[in-house]
């Protein structure tokens, strides 16, 4: 993937990621998050992970964000009114987040491995749906089954939680 495409998608992703937390309106935040995830899916595909990229669009843009928007619509959350902000907490949080970022960047800049480019693949065509599937159903079969049970439990839990009154 050419460099400028990487920076284009990374820029789109970061800008809309920042908009998620800057926007006052929850719906605008959610729509920005969708664009952010689409940029992320493009970055996955730039790393030859087509399956993960498509799954990202299918699960996040298709299912998770629709769920978010549906809930926002159901609760009828309009733009939140301006409250008196707790400036001490705000500055504290900001300082913590920035120092975390500085720390991450410092670690990356000192790692020798991070300065290397990606090695070329053995063949340009990777059938990665097949490869991920073989690994998933072979070596990781037990975790896969456990994930299935987890989703079942989550489904039951959601239904119980959203019932109006419990008997």
């Amino acid at each position: 993937m050419p460099s400028f495409l990487f920076w284009l998608f990374a820029g789109v992703m970061l800008i809309f990621g920042a908009l998620v937390i800057i926007n006052r309106n929850p719906i605008a935040s959610a729509l920005s998050l969708v664009v952010c995830f689409l940029g992320l899916a493009a970055l996955f595909m730039s790393l030859d992970a087509f399956f993960i990229g498509i799954i990202q669009v299918l699960v996040y843009a298709g299912a998770v964000m629709v769920l978010f928007l549906f809930i926002i619509m159901l609760l009828d959350l309009r733009a939140e009114e301006r409250r008196t902000m707790n400036w001490v907490a705000f500055t504290g949080g900001f300082v913590v987040a920035v120092s975390l970022l500085v720390q991450i960047l410092a670690v990356i800049s000192r790692t020798q491995m991070a300065k290397q480019t990606f090695p070329p693949l053995a063949s340009p065509q990777t059938d990665d749906v097949r490869n991920v599937g073989l690994l998933l159903f072979g070596h990781y079969n037990l975790p896969f089954q456990v994930i299935g049970v987890l989703i079942l439990v989550a489904t039951v839990g959601v239904i119980v939680l959203s019932k109006r009154q419990l008997r």
Partner: protein
């Protein structure tokens, strides 16, 4: 050419953005979205590592991609349960603002 460091930097910035969202915002739903951002930042660095360290056959190491698959699945389940809790909370307290939810505060 893009290096591994570029991807890790982007992933790190995305994580920091999500982290600051959790710390700075007071709306539960926005905090939840910021959590998703952090999860996805982790996914990005996992996929970058999977592409960086090739296996013996010259293909990406798919273990990391399976892990990303699991993270996405668990995140989807987590979103469903979390939003159900938010709806239940809204029914009980008529608010999604974390500062109004202070019954357990001593």
């Amino acid at each position: 050419m893009t290096t591994l460091g570029d991807y890790l930097t982007v992933s790190g910035i995305l994580f920091a953005v999500g982290f600051s969202g959790v710390l700075l915002r007071r709306n539960v739903i926005i905090i939840f979205m910021a959590l998703e951002l952090m999860l996805n930042a982790a996914n990005l660095s996992l996929v970058a590592f999977s592409r960086f360290r090739l296996g013996e056959d010259g293909l990406p190491s798919y273990n990391a991609q399976v892990l990303v698959f699991f993270i996405i699945t668990v995140a989807a389940a987590e979103v469903a349960v979390g939003l159900a809790i938010i709806v239940a909370l809204y029914r009980a307290r008529r608010t999604t603002h974390v500062e109004d939810i202070n019954s357990l505060k001593f």
